[in-house]
Symmetry: C2
Subunit: 84 residues, 2 copies
């Protein structure tokens, strides 16, 4: 997936895209679906999908839920050099 695949709007920030990319990478590395991740994190499947496309201005509480579901620390999902 390249950055071109993301829906870029004027409100999409660099950090959202970084988070989106790291989240997808970490999820795929674990071989789980968006649906499974959503269930593990107590979030809705379509919400996780939109976060992975950088469409959502996700909150710190939901960043924590997703990180926990993936067995990561929240900071890992914001790293430039993330190797989740």
């Amino acid at each position: 997936m390249t950055e071109d695949d993301y829906i870029i709007t004027k409100t999409t920030t660099k950090t959202r895209l970084l988070f989106a990319r790291n989240l997808r990478r970490a999820r795929e590395a674990r071989g789980i679906s968006q649906e499974m991740l959503a269930e593990l994190a107590g979030l809705h499947r379509t919400y996780v999908g939109s976060v992975e496309r950088g469409e959502r201005n996700i909150s710190i509480d939901n960043i924590e839920r997703l990180a926990k579901a993936l067995g990561l620390e929240p900071e890992n999902l914001l790293r430039r050099d993330a190797d989740c």
Copy 2:
């Protein structure tokens, strides 16, 4: 400032408190007020105060604004061992 100074509610998560602590530490290390930080980040002074008390479920876009205003990467503000 100790963790006792934070307003803890059932919706206050660990990550919020980590962010709150790192934000305050980074701001104070730069010798700037909440008001000045708010101005640099384009946010309201009372909002920055409530974020520093862990009261707000801050969004990733606002995490980016605050990090940028402090000359940091967003991940720095979520680090456990942050030395901002």
